[in-house]
């Protein structure tokens, strides 16, 4: 029995460390209430959200470099979680800014209070997921995140493909959570605990049978696999990404994927690694009967190859970017295969880079859609001449997604390949680079339509508000600068690989 005083001290400490999340909950509630009070104004809850995110950011800054667990080991507060929280927070912030400029959302006299407050809810879910270290917490966080995103996907509900996407997402999501929950229950039955640290202890001391452990592990990883849209759990991705409002697609493809990777790494690393072995953090010793690295490597190869090959045939830019984001999940899984600290650091670096370039690409798609009302590749003919600034920035984002220097995307890929080669997975690196070549083909297709076609036509210039151009530069400049001067990210990622592994 824990004495009550000790419990209170623990609780007090937890509440202090839980401040950023608390701020998000408050933001969520305030945004809802404010929307009820100021019914006329559409933007007010969005502005509340921005303020709330800034406050959250400040609280994250002041929290210091904690490395502990809070609320009876429910949540880990460690550098690793903090890194992902930053990625999630910044991308949510950018997405809210993007939303202000989206024509799609402001059409039809839609009420946006719910939209903005649900983004806050989703961000809260993702924050929890970044630190979750208890199976129930993982499940709850995933559900918090998912339920918000189901509604957001179908937010433009009178558009048929949006409601179809939303329904599809709910069904697939429900199946995946069911699967995951089943896996959790098996794992609980085997180890008698829901806590990842205790599970690790139980497995390390041979208290769990191998076969059911495997089944439960696969089920939980499959559940997470849905969130990061790894093949073969990717079926929802293209439809949802195409149907959802662009802003939400951008959020799903970056923040939600980041949260998924955070929990994937934490789950595997905390529960299944032998932390007492001399080469701590680098071995999958606890599940030695099966070559897990190999399974994830296959998953990674399938994901990137499938994503890239299918993307070639797409005629809708949003859908093309959806498949490209599947491919990027494949690249990121290469880092999970390695799972050394270098591999985790490479994933962290990649996420920062991916955030800027992918949000940027979706943002340009949104701005074009505002003007021409379409996301079809054919309608992009000669569009680069109608708005050179957007065209050039889009080229920058696309070559960064391909991974060509001197853009940030190159640095991201570079470190992934370094990590993979460092662990002597040469075949995986070769598949990875060949995939980059394939990906060039479809990214270049967008560039081709924007610039190579329709050169000789008369071009009616497109004008964009200064706000939207500033926003664009905020995404484009890091994409370029981080390709030339990437020291700080490297440093930051290096400091942030530390997971809380129990005492």
């Amino acid at each position: 029995m824990i004495p009550i005083e000790q419990f209170l001290i623990e609780l007090k400490k937890s509440i202090i460390l839980f401040q950023p999340e608390t701020a998000l909950v408050v933001t969520f509630l305030v945004a809802l209430i404010v929307d009820l009070i100021f019914r006329k104004s559409k933007n007010v809850s969005g502005i509340i959200l921005l303020i709330g995110f800034i406050v959250t950011g400040i609280l994250l800054c002041t929290a210091g470099n904690q490395n502990s667990v809070v609320f009876s080991k429910m949540l880990a507060v460690d550098p690793f979680a903090k890194f992902f929280k930053w990625v999630i927070l910044i991308s949510s912030f950018i997405v809210v800014l993007m939303s202000f400029l989206s024509k799609e959302l402001y059409e039809k006299d839609r009420r946006l209070g719910e939209y903005f407050s649900l983004i806050a809810g989703m961000t809260f879910g993702m924050f929890l997921l970044a630190g979750a270290s208890n199976l129930i917490m993982i499940y709850l966080a995933i559900e918090t995140m998912s339920i918000s995103s189901y509604i957001l996907t179908g937010f433009t509900k009178e558009i048929k493909r949006a409601s179809e996407a939303s329904l599809k997402y709910v069904i697939f999501g429900a199946v995946s959570s069911g699967l995951m929950l089943y896996g959790i229950s098996i794992l609980f039955g085997l180890t008698g605990s829901l806590n990842l640290y205790d599970i690790n202890y139980a497995i390390a001391h041979g208290k769990a049978e191998m076969f059911p452990l495997l089944i439960s592990g696969i089920m939980i990883i499959a559940g997470i696999g849905y969130k990061i849209s790894a093949v073969p759990f990717h079926f929802w991705t293209p439809d949802v990404y195409e149907g959802a409002p662009v802003t939400i697609t951008a959020l799903l493809s970056v923040a939600s994927k980041a949260a998924g990777f955070a929990i994937l790494i934490r789950f595997i690393k905390v529960a299944f690694f032998d932390h007492t072995s001399p080469v701590a953090g680098e071995t999958w010793t606890l599940l030695s009967t099966i070559d897990w690295k190999y399974i994830i490597a296959i998953l990674s190869v399938l994901t990137m190859t499938f994503g890239n090959l299918v993307a070639i045939w797409q005629t809708n830019v949003k859908r093309l970017l959806a498949y490209s984001s599947i491919a990027h999940a494949g690249y990121l899984l290469m880092g999970v295969v390695v799972m050394t600290d270098a591999g985790v650091a490479a994933i962290l670096i990649y996420f920062v880079v991916y955030m800027f370039m992918n949000l940027g690409a979706f943002y340009v798609v949104m701005l074009f859609a505002n003007k021409i009302g379409s996301e079809e590749l054919d309608d992009y003919t000669g569009i680069g001449y109608r708005s050179p600034v957007l065209g050039v920035c889009m080229v920058l984002f696309l070559i960064s997604l391909t991974g060509l220097p001197p853009t940030a995307g190159f640095i991201g890929k570079w470190y992934l390949f370094i990590a993979v080669l460092n662990s002597n997975y040469i075949w995986l690196a070769v598949v990875g680079v060949l995939n980059s070549v394939v990906s060039l083909f479809y990214y270049a297709k967008v560039i081709r339509n924007m610039f190579l076609r329709g050169v000789d036509q008369e071009h009616e210039p497109m004008a964009f508000s200064p706000m939207s151009i500033i926003m664009l530069l905020l995404l484009a400049i890091p994409t370029l600068v981080l390709g030339i001067w990437y020291g700080p990210i490297l440093h930051w990622a290096n400091k942030s690989v530390g997971l809380f592994l129990g005492n």
Partner: protein, 545 residues
């Protein structure tokens, strides 16, 4: 050392075009007809001025070059070095220490290439007068391409080299894809994909070398004693070293291009506008062979020895097959003048590969000289085609005849380039080819004899072209006033701009034919050192492992 604002000449020569690009991007395109015309000529002249400044710098570098320094793997042997820390992170146990330098410098291998790049870019900017649409984008991309190429030739840090290497892909893609001919999209993406395919393998080898040495400094990578014993590239004659060498070789061979990786070149050349063809043939192809000399040869001498015969064979196949394809243009297909020149490039670059594979001083000197000469001669050939194309809007070999009567000055200049391409004594092409033959014969007599057929075939396709296009009867369609829609074409002789573009190249070709030492002297010390290093120096160092 000579510096401007504390920055060395090599940095200036690389980044001057970027300054020009920024300037061009800042000039507005203009609203009405009049201001549009003004900005159009501004774009042209900014480019000409910046490439001219670059040329002046290159000449200055050439004039101040110290002939007694060797370079290659000797850090003190490089000239005009600029070196400072770019990304330095220590104490990162997870990713290893990261040290990327901004490190540029030249030795006898790169000095001719720097000069060549400056000359070709300057000349091609005059040839760009024939481009008329979207000039702002064109010249911005042109200058970006220029910077990328120059960077490749001066970089001594592998990371920097790779960044420049990839930097020039995108402008090239746009230059072919926007300002090209009817099949431009196909040609542009084919070029892009081929080159990227090659360079991603280079990327993997670069990472492996980085793990071995712990930095990206090329000079460190040439020192076998600095290799980490745990690295897969450690040792002599290991399988991994062979694989790494072949991966690099494929990457560079695509760029050269050697048979069987050459198929992108005819497409790219045929579709590209004249000045871009000039740059493509004049400079870009040299990056492949330069990469072999700078990276593959001194870093993998064991693999070079092991694959020596194979490399020579690749060279010979390129020579003969390229020449046959060029000859075939007279009989099959669209009988495209430009395609003929493109295949002749494949053939002539084969000489470079053969000369390098000889692994002796004569062959290597011949190879580098051939790179320079091919750069000037082929640039001229493409401009010759461009001049005709501007007047006739066709490149069919059968569409012309009797041009010698109509355009005497043009025919005179053109004959110089044709004869130089054939290898007529007294012109520059002869010297380099004879050096390659002399060198290669010592190592591979049979292969060299086979490759000599390339010269015979070369004479055949060139002279045949000369005869078809410039002699004989003028076709009827050339008579009468200019009217492209009814296939009536101009036949006036060279204008001033064309003359300015062609004449300097002709002078260089003649000068180097009479006085090849002007170029051979600059490279002699480095070539000797490189050959000595590959044949013995590296092995002595590796013997202690």
């Amino acid at each position: 050392m000579f510096q401007i604002f504390g920055i060395g000449p090599l940095t200036w020569i690389t980044f001057l075009p970027l300054l020009g690009m920024i300037l061009i991007l800042l000039i507005p395109s203009g609203k009405d007809e009049r201001s549009k015309d003004v900005s159009k000529s501004l774009f042209r002249w900014v480019t000409i001025i910046f490439t001219f400044l670059q040329l002046l710098l290159a000449i200055w570098i050439y004039a101040n070059y110290n002939y007694y320094l060797a370079g290659i793997n000797d850090p003190n042997g490089f000239q005009f070095v600029d070196k400072f820390k770019w990304i330095y992170l220590y104490g990162l146990p997870l990713l290893g220490n990261v040290s990327v330098d901004y490190f540029v410098g030249i030795d006898g291998i790169s000095a001719p290439m720097v000069l060549l790049t400056a000359i070709v870019c300057f000349v091609a900017s005059f040839s760009s007068f024939s481009v008329t649409k979207a000039l702002k984008g064109y010249f911005a991309m042109y200058l970006l391409l220029d910077a990328g190429m120059m960077g490749v030739f001066v970089a001594l840090d592998f990371f920097l080299f790779y960044v420049f290497w990839e930097l020039m892909l995108l402008p090239m893609y746009f230059l072919i894809g926007i300002w090209g001919g009817p099949r431009k999209e196909y040609a542009a993406i084919k070029f892009f994909l081929y080159t990227l395919f090659g360079s991603v393998f280079m990327l993997l080898v670069m990472i492996a070398l980085f793990f071995a040495v712990g930095s990206f400094n090329m000079l460190d990578m040439m020192d076998p004693t600095k290799y980490n014993p745990n690295s897969i590239l450690f040792g002599v004659d290991t399988t991994w070293r062979y694989i790494a060498f072949m991966a690099l070789f494929v990457g560079f061979a695509i760029k050269i291009p050697s048979v069987p990786f050459h198929t992108w070149l005819p497409d790219a050349h045929v579709e590209a506008p004249t000045p871009i063809s000039v740059i493509l043939a004049g400079v870009l192809l040299k990056m492949g062979t330069y990469g072999l000399m700078r990276i593959s040869w001194p870093m993998f001498p064991d693999a070079v020895k092991h694959f020596q015969w194979f490399i020579a064979l690749v060279g010979v196949v390129s020579i003969v097959y390229g020449a046959l394809c060029a000859l075939g243009q007279h009989r099959v297909g669209k009988r495209d003048f430009k395609k003929l020149i493109a295949y002749s490039s494949v053939s002539h670059m084969g000489f470079v590969v053969l000369g390098m594979a000889a692994l002796n001083t004569t062959g290597m000197e011949g190879a580098i000289l051939q790179m320079f000469n091919h750069g000037t001669i082929t640039s001229m050939l493409f401009m010759v085609v461009g001049v005709l194309y501007d007047r006739s809007h066709t490149r069919g070999l059968d569409d012309f005849g009797g041009m010698a009567n109509k355009m005497p000055i043009y025919t005179g200049l053109m004959t110089i380039s044709f004869m130089a391409a054939i290898g007529l004594p007294g012109l520059s092409g002869f010297v380099s080819e004879i050096l390659v033959f002399l060198g290669a014969f010592q190592t591979y007599p049979t292969l060299t004899i086979i490759s000599a057929t390339g010269i015979v075939l070369g004479a055949a396709y060139m002279l045949w072209t000369l005869q078809k296009v410039f002699f004989g009867q003028v076709p009827d369609r050339w008579a009468g006033p200019w009217d492209p829609t009814h296939k009536k074409y101009k036949t006036d002789d060279l204008n001033l701009v064309e003359l300015v573009a062609l004449a300097p190249l002709a002078l260089i070709i003649i000068y180097l034919g009479i006085h090849p030492n002007a170029m051979l002297g600059i490279m002699e010390k480095s070539v000797n050192h490189l050959i000595q290093f590959v044949n013995t120096g590296w092995w002595t160092m590796a013997a202690g492992l």
